[in-house]
């Protein structure tokens, strides 16, 4: 399956599941506009020579791969590395579904170029497990029913993890502010606050990671 393809194949074909500019910039507007005469988007690189070799550390594992300089981290995680827990909600830095930790800080993977993330520690929802078991924030979300459709959930949990790493004892106000960059259309906010509060309590008592 394309997602699991070794780096070599990606480099050979330059085939992408989703072009960055197509989804974020002119391309998208033009689909709506149909006959728009706006400037052409940058074409995809089809010559493997023009691709850049990078190494990304995701959840403690090193991945070497070729990327186009414009590829976002979100694209590379989902479409090149097959790590699909990180979701695309808007691809414009407006919803938080794509939240990952970069060196402990929550970042929107859709607004981060894969190139920029080289040399950092990238953590996705998959990296928050405690061995095979749920990590403490994951457990708190489960125990507090802090999800409905589940689509925003990985981003919420990663954002909460980032918040707690930066501030192990957040106030209610700090939780609300810290989590306000992650939208949940199902409206599970109250449960999210409860879950994060609970996870923070657990860490203070020394239960968490």
């Amino acid at each position: 399956m394309a997602k699991k393809k070794p780096i070599k194949d990606a480099a050979e074909s330059g085939v992408t599941r989703r072009g960055f500019l197509g989804s974020v910039g002119a391309g998208a507007a033009a689909v709506a506009a149909g006959v728009s005469t706006r400037a052409e988007a940058i074409p995809e690189i089809t010559d493997p020579e023009e691709m850049v070799q990078i190494a990304l550390t995701v959840n403690g594992r090193l991945h070497r791969l070729l990327v186009e300089p414009r590829w976002t981290l979100l694209f590379v995680l989902r479409e090149r590395l097959g790590i699909t827990g990180t979701k695309a909600g808007c691809e414009r830095g407006e919803c938080g579904s794509c939240s990952v930790l970069i060196d402990d800080l929550p970042r929107y993977a859709c607004l981060t170029l894969a190139l920029e993330a080289e040399g950092t520690e990238i953590t996705t929802i998959e990296g928050l497990l405690d061995g095979e078991e749920l990590g403490d924030v994951q457990r708190a979300f489960a125990e507090h029913d802090a999800f409905q459709c589940g689509y925003c959930t990985p981003g919420q949990i990663v954002a909460a993890e980032g918040l707690l790493r930066a501030n192990p004892a957040p106030t209610d106000h700090e939780i609300r502010h810290g989590m306000s960059g992650n939208l949940c259309r199902c409206g599970t906010y109250q449960h999210i606050v409860n879950a994060v509060t609970h996870a923070a309590d657990g860490r203070r008592k020394g239960g968490g990671s």
């Binding site: 989703r18 989804s23 998208a28 414009r92 749920l134 125990e143 689509y151 259309r185 606050v193």
Partner: protein, 749 residues
Amino acid sequence: MSSPDLEAHVRGTSRYIDDMADPAGMLHAAAVTSPSPHAELRAIDAAPARALPGVVAVLTAADIPGLNQIGGIIQDEELFATSTVHFIGQPVAVVVAETFHQARLGARACVLDLEELTAIFDAREAAAAGELITASRTLDTGDVDAAWADCDVVVEGRADTAGQEHLYLETQAALAIPEEGGRIKVWSSTQAPTAVQRITARVLGLPMNLVEVEVTRLGGAFGGKEDQATPWAVMAALAAQRTGRPVRLTLNRHEDMVCTGKRHPYSSDFKLGLKNDGAIVAYEVHLWQNAGAAADLSPAILERSLFHATGAYFVPNARIHAASCRTNLIPFTAFRGFGAPQAMFVMEAAIDRAAEVMGLSRSEIQAKNLLSEGDEFPYGMRVKRSRARRSFNEAAGRFDLAAVENEIAEHNATHAVVKRGAAAMPVCFGISFTNAVLNQAGALVHVYTDGSVNVSTGAIEMGQGVNAKILAVASAALGVPRERIRIENTTTRTIANTSPTAASSGADLNGSAAGLACRAIADRLRSVAAERLDTPFDRLSIADGVVLADGEPTGLEWNELVWNAYTKRVNLSAHAHYATPGIWYDKETEQGEPFAYHVFGTAILEVTVDCLRGTSTVDRVRMVHDGGRSLAPAVDLGQLEGGLVQGLGWMTMEELVFHQGRNLSDTLSTYKIPDLLGTPVIEGHFLDDADNPKAVMQSKAIGEPPFMYGIGVYFALLDALRAFRPDRKGVYDAPLTPEKALMFLHGDR
């Protein structure tokens, strides 16, 4: 613990369509869409697109082997426009290419030759021009014309509500795979797999048995994937059929916001007559529904508006006119509440106006007119087990509405700039599809020889927790722990002719069917146990995986019993069908019993407005809700809160703006939905002793009703604004954004 998906959701391993691995040879599709709200389509020049690298095909109406028609209720919508385009974002062709990006470049390269035509965007204008989707309808009860003379006070006014973007976080997505023998398999992010199957078959010129539609789960839907998932799935299927390769079509957020239908904007005129004590005597209302350019589900939505026009109140003389108006906007569609919120807003506006004129409190008029047992709705049905008064009184008592109102009055008397407001919002919502045909469901249950169980139904899990509820029903009916049961993906191959998972009825219908199938198997197993234990059948039961005789464990366990039954060649599978009994409606007379039952509840909402800036906060919302006997209390609480939050968004910040047919609020930076900071403290209580013999295991549907609690926030805000500007009369034009609040606070009109 609410959901069988719990572990997977928090691990990030739940799969949505876009998470599925790409099948070998997969292509991407992107639609070419109309840039014009109304134009003659003279030609499509696809040559520039075909010349681009990676483009495999450009498909137009000419490439459709079957019918170019995706309309459901009314067949008035082409998959690809042919001679005329009717709205911005209407598909005219689909480009199929090797990559997502190439498909989009291809879509952009197509050149449309268009001749602009005059366009209509306003529902009232469309009605005046005779542009109606179907004949307008009128419900008439009592004698409205005569009743005005009996009224001490008659108020009139206008009320408007804007549309609303669903903003399900998972955008529309489909993956179509051509299989042998011309068969097409479609994974679709749809609430209505049978609709996708039927219309795919129609467009592709196939019998329905060659089209399978499968769904694992949706990342939110809220009505936005009931009809609106269909065109994208059909395009993917068509492209797969034509190219012979798997095709993925996923909309990005911007495309989704531009090209898919939303909640209908409504414009209304009301006239309400009351006695001096606040008793409502007569109500007349005209509802103009902006349907957009095609019927979609608009006629059904209009019908629910008619049925809910009098809200949670008894109105002895009522006349409700409703017109579905064709305009050159995106076809508007189902959204939580399905036309009821728009109509209920008007009723609340009328009550507010009456309260203003009469100098009464709004909650006094509300309380006086709530539905009592046996009261008749304008559609002829009498309310049974009405909990309108009970929930209102319980809310008013539990949350001390009088004290809240006093406290706010005191605050407002002593604060010049920061004003507060509160409102009660009673809700009554009818449960069942108003189209009686849809009130049926099927289930297929298999017990395997190791004792594990699979349950399939037509229900789609989209976050509303239907799988948790079906699991509860199956576990109780079979007598096995939930861990032994898996709720299967929904597929048209297993369960045929499914109704959409909509109208809050997913668990009622599919849970009932699953219960019937499980009980059929449980009965067969009890027969086997009766023989084995030499005990009469009637004395045996199965609970928690153990066979009981007269309630005492027999030592015979589920696994052994199942194996025993298998060796005796007993059928361990069952299919069942459920149809809601007793519902009917006659559109000729506009009378009937369209609903199995009603859901009731009341919210008390409190707000604060900064009258210098026009900004506001919703401080607290407390609700008493009639949830029946819940199948999954955690799920129901989530629905209560989530529905409310969406309703608050619709009333306060979600502002859908169209200019000359173009959606200007087409990204998340121009369309704001509630975030964590905008969410108030929410308290939800469920009525005790609220049995409901009309639904599975005494439960009640919950998806939609809580949305309408949000309507109250408009009136709470209005009170705060009027506390600053007592000289101004209320205006009823939702959403009440900070901008509109500012104009109210500091404007002259």
